[in-house]
């Protein structure tokens, strides 16, 4: 059973801490690797203002005029695999994630290839 969750976390560090809590281990070479089975897609900081492109009036060249402006909020999509049902037969967000879940129309700004968010959301 797979489920898709969309989350807006307070900071990137909060996201990293929550991912660590899903499970990691250290291999024989000293590299950290995930022990969980979920697909985590970092969409990055929430964009408050888009980047602006245009013609630089001084040089006449087409270029980036101003970079995007971001909030501290960090957006993440997760394809959860093999979550267990509770005693009522309900599959819910793993502990600590539900408070940060967000609802979007259709698939929102990101989707998983061939999978419909509305059919697979919690």
């Amino acid at each position: 059973m797979i489920k898709i969750g969309k989350y807006k976390l307070n900071t990137k560090q909060q996201f990293l801490d929550k991912v660590d809590a899903l499970g990691t281990a250290i291999d024989e070479d000293g590299n950290e690797y995930p022990t969980h089975e979920h697909v985590i897609v970092e969409l990055g900081h929430e964009v408050l203002e888009d980047a602006v492109y245009g013609v630089n009036e001084e040089t006449g060249e087409f270029e980036l005029i101003s970079e995007a402006v971001f909030s501290d909020k960090y957006l993440v999509d997760i394809l959860w695999r093999n979550l267990e049902e509770d005693e009522d037969g309900i599959i819910d967000h793993p502990y600590g994630w539900k408070s940060y879940s967000v609802e979007v129309e259709e698939n929102g700004m990101h989707s998983f290839l061939g999978l419909d968010y509305q059919s697979l959301k919690f």
Binding site: Y33, A51, H110, S111, G114, L115
Partner: protein, 421 residues
């Protein structure tokens, strides 16, 4: 030549990598992928493969299928271009200045690499002006994670009998590997550029603008399809998008945090005499990337032979031009590391590792590259598309065209024949 006891030759689509030998299924490999994915089919068309199914991918040369298929095994990737085929969409900026004219975009004009009528005709006209300020091009600007390795790719073809010289570049920095003068011909070609970006702005641009290149055509009438910007230095299989960015899951084993693998194959492998043979190519040089004949109870502590990318190389170029064989004989303890220089590990290669209880040899593309005095292995019982301990951190990414195990050593002449391209 002896018959292999296990042979994985891409031949069937399903939820396993089916080995031709043994015929009882004892040498099959598990595989899963949570999302759909695309492949090039036997007609040379890009088509969608169901989630969890193996991808038999056919090689294309100048737009035509050339040769037998391989198993396509890829990491998870996201296409950050939200309108990968929809060039008429306002997300694609149609830009012109100086002597140039705004590109004319006509959707669903011709047959695309998918075989559908969804290729877009784009007519560029930059006029006779040269340099950066006289242009006619399309660009999609994206906001992404800073520091990512951004590969930008697109399928292009001439819409006339003429060939055109265009530019393809990453919008964040049109220099070095991030910009390329390309020749668009009467055959569909996939072009790509790449660079690690240092800001949150990137994107893909193509058309007629002499930015870090010169000698472009003044006009061009082309077909476009399948734009992709992804986090990696090489483009992977096409990920179609429509209004949002889209992620394709990785091809992995079961459970998901392991590499693709066999069950117990100990009865098909002989620790005293044998050959481990692989034909294919690597596709990812940023992480450990191996395929191993191993012992499930030992991991790195038991017997193993691993064919690996040069994951210790200091640069990507260094990592691409060397293939390493790691092996370990548990008792008496002996560890070997043998490397061989290749032109590009993304190109198809044939490698055989042979052992007979006295000598261990390695051959690549018809040439011996090591010969060591070694005693017999204790035994093997798994093949992992990963490191010897089947850790997710070392999974194989690339193309697997042939994989065999022999339970007897082959002669030098047979090894040359087996590995000659």
């Amino acid at each position: 030549m002896a018959k292999p006891t296990l042979a994985l030759i891409p031949s069937a689509i399903g939820d396993k990598l089916y080995s031709v030998l043994p015929s009882d299924g004892g040498g099959d490999f598990d595989l899963t992928r949570a999302t759909t994915a695309t492949r090039v089919n036997s007609q040379g068309l890009i088509e969608t493969v169901a989630s969890g199914d193996v991808r038999l991918d056919y090689p294309l040369v100048n737009g035509v299928v050339s040769g037998c298929p391989h198993h396509l095994i890829e990491p998870s990737r996201t296409n950050y271009v939200p309108y990968s085929d929809d060039f008429i969409n306002s997300a694609w900026s149609k830009l012109s200045a100086g002597t140039g004219s705004t590109p004319i975009v006509t959707p669903n004009y011709s047959i695309s690499p998918s075989g559908e009528l969804d290729a877009t005709r784009i007519q560029f006209d930059k006029g006779t002006g040269t340099g950066m300020t006289n242009y006619s091009f399309l660009a999609e600007f994206l906001t992404v994670t800073s520091g990512m390795d951004a590969s930008k790719s697109i399928y292009l073809k001439s819409n006339t009998d003429s060939e055109y010289d265009l530019v393809l570049y990453g919008t964040s920095d049109a220099s070095g590997t991030n910009v390329k003068k390309i020749r668009v011909t009467s055959e569909w070609q996939r072009f790509d550029v790449f660079k690690t970006i240092t800001s949150t702005s990137t994107g893909v641009a193509f058309g007629l603008r002499e930015i870090s290149v010169s000698g472009l055509s003044n006009t061009a009438d082309i077909l476009a399809w399948g734009a992709q910007v992804e986090n990696g230095l090489q483009p992977t299989s096409y990920i179609p998008t429509n209004e949002s960015t889209v992620t394709r899951d990785a091809d992995v084993g079961v459970p998901f945090n392991t590499g693709i693998k066999t069950g117990d194959i100990s009865s098909y492998v002989n620790g005293s005499n044998g050959v481990f043979y692989f034909e294919g190519s690597f596709a990812d040089f940023n992480v450990v990337n191996r395929i191993s004949l191993s012992n499930s109870t030992g991991g790195f502590g038991g017997d193993y032979i691993s064919i690996s990318t040069n994951d210790s190389g200091s640069t990507e170029e260094d990592r691409k031009t060397k293939i390493i064989v790691f092996y370990k004989i548990e008792t008496p303890s002996s560890i070997g590391t043998e490397d061989v220089t290749v032109n590009d590990a993304r190109d198809n290669f044939k490698m055989a590792i042979s052992w007979d209880g006295a000598t261990m040899k390695g051959y690549i593309n018809g040439v011996e590259f090591f010969s060591n005095s070694e005693t017999a292995f204790g035994g093997f019982d798994r093949i992992y598309f990963s490191r010897a301990d089947n850790n997710i951190a070392g999974v194989f990414h690339g193309k697997q065209k042939d994989l065999r195990v022999y339970d007897t050593a082959l002669t030098d002449a047979e090894l040359v024949t087996l590995t000659t391209l």
